[in-house]
């Protein structure tokens, strides 16, 4: 592959450069991320590196306890143990690399700067509230409230618009999944 890609000057780097030059991104609305030397996400990399290291250790310990088996007949813990070891090795390499790259923490890019970080948090809270309330009040009521809340969340739309779309989507989803595909939605105390 290296032979195939490099003569065309199309390493992964150049793919990224093309994206950056043209300010193109895969997100909607378009996220324009400039990736320059001082903007690397080194601090975040270090944190995630330690999380991977920790996770690798946990996998190793847990799979060791399951049963590694013998060489001729590997037990159920054997492959997970190898996976854990690999994760430890990779996170170690990753951490070493992130520490070798010197960084000035004051110039570190804040991944949430200029963004409305409260919005995803609210969406997540709404999602958890949804699965907690669903068995209590039933599919139709909770889903309708969920849709109305989300409709108002990022850019308040007109009430009539939100209510129409919410009712339509709840009705359509109930007809398709609840009635046609026989999905057993929780009914809750309201019995519908």
């Amino acid at each position: 592959m290296a032979v195939l890609l490099n003569p065309l000057c199309l390493s992964r780097k150049s793919c990224q450069e093309i994206l950056l030059e043209k300010s193109l991104s895969l997100h909607w609305p378009p996220l324009v991320q400039k990736r320059t030397g001082e903007n690397r996400v080194v601090l975040y990399d270090r944190i995630s590196g330690f999380i991977w290291l920790f996770l690798g250790l946990i996998i190793c310990v847990m799979s060791y306890r399951i049963d590694l088996g013998e060489a001729g007949s590997p037990g159920p813990g054997f492959i997970p143990f190898l996976t854990g070891c690999l994760l430890i090795l990779l996170s170690f390499i990753f951490l070493v690399k992130s520490f070798l790259l010197s960084t000035d923490s004051r110039r570190e890019k804040n991944l949430w700067k200029g963004l409305r970080w409260d919005k995803p948090l609210l969406v997540v809270i709404a999602l958890f509230a949804y699965i907690l309330l669903l068995p209590v009040f039933g599919y139709l009521v909770v889903t309708l409230l969920f849709m109305v809340f989300l409709g108002k969340l990022i850019q308040p739309q007109k009430w009539t618009m939100i209510i129409i779309i919410s009712i339509l989507s709840v009705a359509a989803s109930y007809l398709i999944f609840g009635l046609w595909l026989n999905c057993q939605f929780p009914k809750g105390v309201l019995k519908f």
Partner: protein, 497 residues
């Protein structure tokens, strides 16, 4: 002749009303999500998978495959008209496509991308038919060591092709492997990493995982943006390319088809990389490379053909080896398993209706896409005007119901949200998700193959070096890996961390 008679029976399957309808719906939904940025083919295929549980496997695969290659068609529309790629494989189409649109040549750009896609998709299908069968019969002779070696090579290529950092991609693949170990061990029946949760006995579901990582996380990333939606105002006239356009574009279409076809077979390469390689190739062999980026038709025809050919050839490893080459195909593989079909080289032999029905439906689907795309382009553009605040609650609702309907279980929905949050951080920290999904799907197969090989060899790893196919795969994997490590060492402070 055998191929022809098989293909005819494939067409008979495709023309059954339910299959024709699912093919039509598949390509329409595919075009729609291709047009809409912010929701890609992987998320959509995962999202729609539960809808297919009540139909036969062939109808399900026809539908889901339609979504996949339909997205490749749709993605180019927004690239050309508004400089926003609908999905990753159409990014490079922006470079010349949008420039052509600015010069008032949006029509020919859209036209050539639709015709190029059609030609490349069809050529890719012929390749798929000719290559999948001999490969499957060769693969029937594969034992566990060959499979293990092949999957290792596949994962190495996947990581090599990854867009961002290699170490990060490797970590993601390892994490995917780790997730695949959760659940009851298939050989000994012992629970692993289930933490006493009964729902985890069957392991983490592919659907909550894929929908969370691709669907929910995308929504979380998008709702924090302050950018307002662009207003799309375009007038298109004259969709048919003229004689000179055809003369310029035809060689590019053919080259793009070949590049896309070859790269589509490789794991991880797929539509995205092949579109870039095709663009690079066109620029390199052009007499006027400096004109690229100013609106030359080859820059649209090549990549658009490549991504469609790649989406056809991506089915080759799925049907002949049972190995997915990208995350959409990985979900299709999951769909086969859910429908009770054991993926592997015997699929074509044991379920000829599935293979030939799908192939024939792709011919029909490509034609439908050509018909749908050209006259209806105005409608697709109008869809871009749906505001995101209205779209995202619907995406969330669909993710939740789709996941819930799998087992009528709220625990699955909990995992969906959990993976959504994890996926959000992965994307923030520039971890690529595709290696995770592929390793997750390959994990159980990889593990079974390794353990069976070791049982065969009585615990000796030398078994992998005694068989010619596995040795070749390992040598290729090691060679690939070392070229990569060497080049990143040379760069030291390069972009590849």
């Amino acid at each position: 002749m055998e191929i022809l008679s098989n293909l005819i029976s494939g067409f008979q399957i495709t023309f059954e009303p339910i299959n024709l309808l699912s093919c039509f719906l598949g390509v329409v939904i595919g075009t729609l999500i291709g047009v809409l940025p912010g929701i890609g083919p992987t998320g959509t295929v995962a999202l729609l998978l539960p809808l297919t549980f009540s139909v036969s496997p062939v109808t399900a695969i026809i539908f889901l495959a339609g979504v996949y290659y339909g997205a490749m068609y749709g993605g180019s529309t927004t690239s050309i008209l508004v400089n926003i790629p609908g999905e990753a494989a159409s990014i490079v189409t922006c470079l010349d496509g949008y420039e052509m649109a600015k010069k008032g040549r949006a029509g020919p750009a859209l036209g050539i991308s639709a015709f190029g896609s059609f030609i490349a998709g069809t050529l890719g299908l012929i390749g798929l038919m000719l290559l999948a069968i001999p490969l499957a019969s060769a693969a029937l002779k594969f034992g566990p060591p060959e499979y293990f070696a092949l999957m290792c090579l596949g994962l190495t290529i996947l990581i090599f092709m990854a867009r961002g950092s290699m170490v990060k991609s490797l970590i993601m693949a390892t994490f995917g492997l780790g997730l695949s170990h959760i659940g009851i061990d298939t050989i000994t029946g012992q629970p692993r990493f289930t933490f006493g949760v009964p729902e985890l006995a069957d392991g983490v579901g592919l659907i909550p995982l894929a929908m969370g990582l691709f669907g929910i996380s995308e929504v979380l990333l998008n709702v924090e943006q302050k950018v307002k939606q662009q207003v799309v105002e375009t007038h298109i006239k004259g969709l048919l390319p003229n004689a000179k356009d055809w003369k310029d574009a035809t060689p590019a279409i053919l080259r793009g088809s070949l590049v896309g076809f070859l790269l589509g077979i490789l794991p991880g390469a797929g539509a995205f990389i092949s579109s870039f390689v095709s663009y690079g190739l066109e620029k390199k062999i052009s007499k006027n490379p400096e004109l690229f980026g100013t609106g030359v038709i080859q820059g649209v025809a090549g990549p658009e053909s490549a991504n469609n050919a790649a989406s056809s050839s991506a089915f080759i490893p799925l049907f002949s080896l049972g190995i997915p080459s990208n995350s959409v195909i990985a979900i299709l593989l999951g769909a086969l398993i859910i429908h009770g079909i054991r993926p592997g080289p015997s699929v074509i032999q044991h379920h000829p209706e599935l293979f030939w029905g799908t192939v024939a439906s792709m011919y029909v689907g490509n034609l439908l896409l050509l018909i749908l795309n050209l006259p209806l382009i105005g409608i697709w553009v109008r869809i871009l005007k749906i505001p995101y605040p209205i779209l995202f609650p619907l995406i969330l609702l669909f993710c939740i119901i789709g996941t819930f309907s799998l087992n009528n279980s709220l625990v699955d929905v909990f995992f969906l949200i959990l993976f959504g949050i994890i996926g959000y951080f992965f994307r923030k920290l520039e971890y690529e998700i595709a290696p995770l999904i592929l390793a997750f799907v390959l994990g159980p197969m990889l593990e079974t193959a390794l353990r069976q090989s070791l049982i065969l060899s009585d615990g000796s790893f030398t078994i992998f070096f005694k068989r010619p196919i596995s040795v070749t795969c390992f040598i290729l994997a090691i060679a690939l890996f070392s070229t990569f490590v060497l080049s990143s060492v040379r760069k030291k402070k390069g972009i590849i961390l």
